[in-house]
Symmetry: C2
Subunit: 462 residues, 2 copies
């Protein structure tokens, strides 16, 4: 039956792309309050598509954006697969750098000469979700998906899955499964499909410093008052040591050592560092001493400033000492760091290093996510490798990722569920950046892989 | 005749305020390109008012915003006074902190219970310019201003008088005078009128760092690439030493030492440091070790960040490594620092301390201004002291200021002209900040002082 399903998928490439474009047109930016109605619209649209395939689909509220949950008719004796994805996207800014508008999906050649669809969310994660929906719809047209399926598509992944933990805890029965399946990661490179077996965790903080009660004339007051912008820079500069490591006491206490086995495995990966550097328009890379680029992004924790705001930002000059200054700072964590512990250490460090005459506040909460690593040598990964070979006509490799998918740690913690990360993106897809894209060949191979996955995973020992 | 002029002024308090409000309603923000037409409108309005008093007034173009030049009928044997002011104002942002809109001037009680007019430019410098225009108009109604008057009101003071140097050089004959008179400074405190005999100079730079060619996902790339926001903070943090001094090689080479005489003079000034601290809502002040607050703001050079822009600044979280980060940085200079030399030292220092894989650019030019200090013991200052005693009914004190009026150094350099700085503002006027105000009593006393100044200065030895 898989052959028939794959034939159907091969015959629907244009239709699948057209449906994905409809999905991409909805500006479901979860972090922005003024997109609240777009979020509900997007969830409704998605639930409708799943209903077309004969699935039952519900839009369930959370304290934030709603969650879409769908299922086929469950039959006893079959494994239950929880497919997770997210319909929310990152903010598209800076808009002026998009060649075509972020919510007007457009197909064109990318820099390497391959056709791709360009839009915010193209690959993260709408395009990859759509691989699965297409595969599910094709199976439903041919007797039904051969596993017991639970589809969970949330709207807050890009803001740390803030309300998903409560949702999962309140809906354990609905979500119970044998395995979780996620497509929100990458191939290692074009033509090198991969299974991702580790992800970094996340702590995201906003630090706001307040000095004088109002903005001041920098001539009349400069030199005699604490300037929050100066202090912010001094404070943030203390967060790294000259060797590139993070200078927060206790930060590395629980970091798992990289095994010789993994080090050897990664050394064999076809990673083209000069090309990687060139693609980023850099003359050379940066990072922690004594680690390779893959190690720096996959198994070493980081601390990066994601935003700075202080004083006057308009054109020209304003001689002002701003009353406040703020920074968005995120830390990527690796096994076995504990987000709560790292967050506390970060706050303690910032507080201790802030001068007494400047007030410090932490104004963002709820973006913590656990780092994860899963065993490679399981029946599920073997079945997944077979499915990737069907979809991409090539044996997959095993990699880790630098990004974060908060739900992975959450499902392990709450439901004891292991996750299979089968990603279809490419490293140059400009995820979170202007001109995000999804390669059309990857879209098709991903859809075929998803179809094969549901067939292979029906053989999962229970 | 001065008595008659003062009577006229006393009888026109409401009319003077109404005219000032018209002046304040024009949003003449020089730094913003989209206010270009407001600038011309403001210059035209101002020239018209001077024409009402029988002065000849011209609107003269520069490469930037136009300059208003007016004069009375000059008579041989009288001293020529160049009155300088500016009709441009600082940007009003952040708008949400204004109790009443910045360009809808409103009279109300200030925090200390005194009536004031609140608007952007109320005291800096439209209100103080209007003191002089009112005094001039009153004199013109009583036989004419008793000196040869040249009025020069420019539109680029708040952006460093960028095009005024060229204008002055091209119009030396028009501007030739015996003395320059400016009201763009403060009283020392309420009821303590003052003559300002020194000002700081200025260098204002925008530093932009560029790392990767586009914004990056902080998970996929974090730890392996130079983050311009991190680098910017590290770079700017190096600009100060732990003792609060500026860490740029050569920065202090030419700084004039404070004399024991001045130190003694300032120690006697009624400076209420606890009240100053409280007014700023600070628990304690900051600054260079071993200097008092007045010394820190009047005779010590500074380096302050006036703006920071990097990465994502909207609500919530975005896990991005921005492609670029920028800072607006200004340095206040004191005698005998040379702005060109300091600017070069700043750029050299920044360039040397920037990692090789990050590009640095300096994107603002033309905001350099010389520091100035003038002798106290001259016939002009004695006559000015008498005028202040007439206007405020109190003997003035001698102070320096931390701000910058670029024209002062320029006129000295180009025309050999000394400047008299007679300011009517109060320290809590929130210059450059939301809720800028001009005290109505100060407005009236300032107008009376201006009238007396033109009478006293008619006795200036030539």
């Amino acid at each position: 039956m898989l052959d028939r399903v794959l034939q159907t998928i091969d015959g629907r490439r244009d239709a699948a792309l057209a449906a994905l474009k409809d999905f991409l047109r909805i500006p479901s930016v979860s972090t922005k309050p003024d997109h609240k109605s777009d979020m509900l619209r997007c969830a409704t649209w998605l639930a409708d598509q799943l209903k077309f395939g004969g699935l039952s689909a519900e839009i369930l509220p959370t304290k934030g954006h709603p969650v879409v949950v769908a299922r086929n008719r469950h039959e006893p004796g079959r494994p239950t697969i929880l497919f997770y994805g997210h319909y929310d996207v990152q903010p598209p800014e800076p808009l002026e750098l998009w060649k075509t508008p972020p919510f007007e999906p457009t197909v064109r050649r990318d820099d390497a000469g391959h056709d791709a669809v360009f839009a915010r969310g193209a690959v993260d994660d709408k395009g990859q979700v759509w691989c699965h929906v297409e595969a599910i719809l094709a199976w439903q047209a041919h007797g039904g998906v051969p596993v017991n399926l639970v589809v969970l598509i949330e709207g807050e992944e890009e803001i740390g899955s803030e309300h998903l933990a409560d949702f999962v805890r309140a809906n354990k029965d609905k979500l119970r499964a044998d395995l979780c399946l996620i497509s929100d990661t990458n191939q290692f490179a074009r033509g090198v499909p991969a299974i991702t077996y580790g992800l970094r965790g996340l702590v995201y903080e906003e630090v706001k410093l307040t000095g004088p009660g109002h903005d001041l004339h920098s001539g009349m007051y400069g030199g005699a008052v604490p300037n929050p912008a100066n202090v912010l820079c001094e404070l943030l500069a203390t967060l790294h040591k000259p060797d590139g490591s993070v200078n927060i006491p206790g930060f590395y206490d629980d970091v798992a050592k990289l095994t010789a086995e993994e080090k050897a495995l990664w050394a064999k990966l076809p990673f083209d560092e000069p090309e990687f550097t060139r693609e980023l328009k850099l003359t050379e890379l940066s990072g922690e001493r004594d680690y390779t680029t893959l190690e720096r992004t996959w198994v070493r924790p980081t601390c990066d400033i994601n935003g700075l705001t202080a004083g006057y930002q308009g054109p020209g000059a304003k001689t002002v000492i701003g009353s406040w200054a703020s920074a968005k700072v995120s830390m990527r964590l690796v096994p076995n760091q504990d987000p709560q512990k790292i967050q506390a250490a970060f706050r303690k460090t910032i507080r201790e290093r802030t001068p007494k005459n400047v007030k410090v506040e932490f104004t963002l909460e709820g973006h913590n996510a656990l780092p994860v690593v899963v065993p490679i040598d399981t029946p599920a990964t073997k079945l997944a490798a077979e499915a990737l070979a069907v979809g991409f006509d090539k044996q997959p490799t095993f990699i880790r990722g630098g990004g974060t998918i908060p739900v992975v740690g959450l499902l392990k913690q709450e439901l004891g569920l292991d996750t299979l990360l089968i990603g279809f993106g490419l490293p140059d897809d400009r995820v979170h950046s202007p001109n995000e894209k999804f390669d059309l060949d990857a879209f098709h191979a991903g859809t075929r892989t998803a179809a094969a996955l549901y067939e292979r995973l029906s053989k999962l020992p229970r």
